[in-house]
């Protein structure tokens, strides 16, 4: 060993000056990949920007039209494009109501599932359950929509509450089903947050005589709070933006109501219905859906910003 090192030192000393070439070689593959990945990134940024630009353009046409004023738009509660009434509130309230119902389903169930997977399940059980949960996330939302319309409403809701009390299209059914739909997202994100809590904290808790439940609820969940809150907010924006379920099951006409057993069209449902119908591109009704979309865009943007803030504000840093 010593001998070898000795030899190499001598060799280094005998390399003549100027014989070492440190100039860069041309690496074509490297350069190509750089360009390709740049294009990939640029395309996604470009499309997003283009969408936002179109959204603003069309919404500008709507707000610029003499039939509309902003005070009416944000201040009144009737949306009736046929008669020139454009108050966004009925669409907003039904969107928020269905989303809140969905969260009331998805947050407790999703958090429970996450706690089970991360704290209770054996590695084998987790190995089977997590993929199943992720398959649930892959079910097309139109399937959930029909599930809401043909099962949740007639069998469960009308069965429990009586046929005369529950309209066939209603926000409760759509909200509950939407909750089931976002459950895997909520569970999966929360599970990631819980698993990221270092084992040393769990051991510290067990070492003080805490049970598994006490450790989960009092140590692990608080330590993962930022991730869990972020999961809640992402679930919320998923629910706000969800279209198919509410279009099929919540109702096909704007109505200003807080009764979840009644039908009321949400923002996304309304956009889907109008844009699918045969209306003229020049009509105010057509541009109105861009105005709704713009409001929707700001709602989800706000939720995303909120989630970023929550993660920073509540994050615990572990080595």
């Amino acid at each position: 060993m010593e001998q070898k090192a000795h030899v190499s030192i001598e060799q280094a000393a005998t390399i003549p000056a100027g014989a070492v070439n440190l100039r860069g070689r041309r690496r074509f593959g490297e350069r190509m990949i750089e360009i390709i990945v740049f294009i990939c990134g640029a395309i996604s940024i470009f499309t997003t920007t283009a969408i936002v630009v179109v959204l603003f353009q069309e919404a500008w046409l709507f707000f610029g039209s003499p039939e509309v004023d902003l005070i009416e738009f944000f201040g009144t509660t009737r949306w009736q494009p046929e008669t020139g009434r454009f108050g966004i509130w009925p669409l907003m309230t039904s969107t928020l109501l269905t989303s809140i119902i969905a969260l009331m389903v998805a947050v407790p169930l999703g958090l429970g599932a996450a706690i089970y997977l991360s704290e209770y399940a054996s590695p084998t059980a987790r190995g089977y359950l997590k993929p199943i949960l992720e398959v649930l996330a892959g079910v097309p939302t139109v399937v959930y929509g029909y599930f809401a319309l043909t099962f949740v409403t007639p069998v469960i809701l009308q069965g429990l509450l009586g046929r005369e009390n529950v309209e066939i299209y209603n926000m409760l059914s759509a909200g509950l089903t939407m909750g089931i739909m976002i459950l895997p997202l909520m569970a999966s994100m929360s599970e990631d947050a819980l698993s990221a809590v270092p084992r040393s904290l769990r051991e510290g808790s067990y070492g003080l005589g805490a049970t598994r439940l006490e450790t989960s609820v009092r140590v692990v969940v608080p330590a993962a709070l930022s991730g869990i809150l972020a999961a809640v907010i992402v679930s919320m924006s998923r629910a706000v933006g969800e279209t198919m379920i509410v279009a099929l099951a919540a109702g096909a006409g704007p109505r200003f109501t807080f009764n979840p057993l009644q039908a009321a069209e949400t923002m996304t449902g309304h956009i889907a219905r109008i844009s699918g119908g045969d209306i003229s591109y020049a009509s105010i009704q057509y541009t109105s859906i861009f105005a709704i979309a713009l409001v929707l865009f700001f709602m989800t943007l706000l939720l995303n910003l909120l989630s970023g803030w929550v993660v920073r504000r509540f994050r615990e840093v572990y080595e």
Partner: protein, 272 residues
Amino acid sequence: MTVAEISSVTTAQTNGRYAVELQNTHIYYGSFRAVKDVSLQIERQRITAFIGPSGCGKSTVLRAINRMNDLIPGSRLEGRILFHGKNIYDPDVDPVEVRRRIGMVFQKPNPFPKSIYDNIMFGPRINGWRGTKAQADELVERALRGAAIWDEVKDKLHQPGTALSGGQQQRLCIARALAVQPEVILMDEPCSALDPISTLKIEELMLELRRNYTIIIVTHNMQQASRVSDYTAFFLMDADRAGQLVEYGPTEQIFTSPNDKRTEDYISGRFG
């Protein structure tokens, strides 16, 4: 005293002199035997050090004493570990109860992401604390004083425990363990992540705690073992990579005139 001599002491004495007694303990992870046939008796209100090279099973034995290994899937123990004359691995024993009486301090300080106050009150609260606010304040002060950290934190009890320095965090963790009033405190290399001054403070604290608690400490640091402990157990990995107890006795004897050649080699720094 050799292993054989200590083992020959009758178990009838367990309740008096010994806090914990291991009898022919084997510990497995799945099919792998990590620890082979360890028998030793831990004296009450003394500091017992477990020393030995990496992988010799000393931490595994320590963690068996409050059933911490239960948390590792596939771990299993044969033999008996007696606490108050009761085998803590009997089926009717609740590991939660064991851990409440046999506390633990870990290698890396692991305060909860809560305030200092709530870190201390965590143990009492999960054990059904019913006292008043004043009593809780008193308990927190007593635990923090017990861990010699009261003066440093008394003005910031409601700040997060994670904001303290490493040495302070470790003393907070000791205080947290004291708050549930255990009889035995297990310390798994409590100073390995700390600087020399913090280490010295923890060692002084251990000598202080010895008056009321039985302490078992795993350490890589032989000077530490010789400085603080009353008894020393030397562990070593055997040919099939299972840890075993080589020699156990008063620290002074282990460090000055060990009976086993391997102990002598290790103590004198010839390996490990």
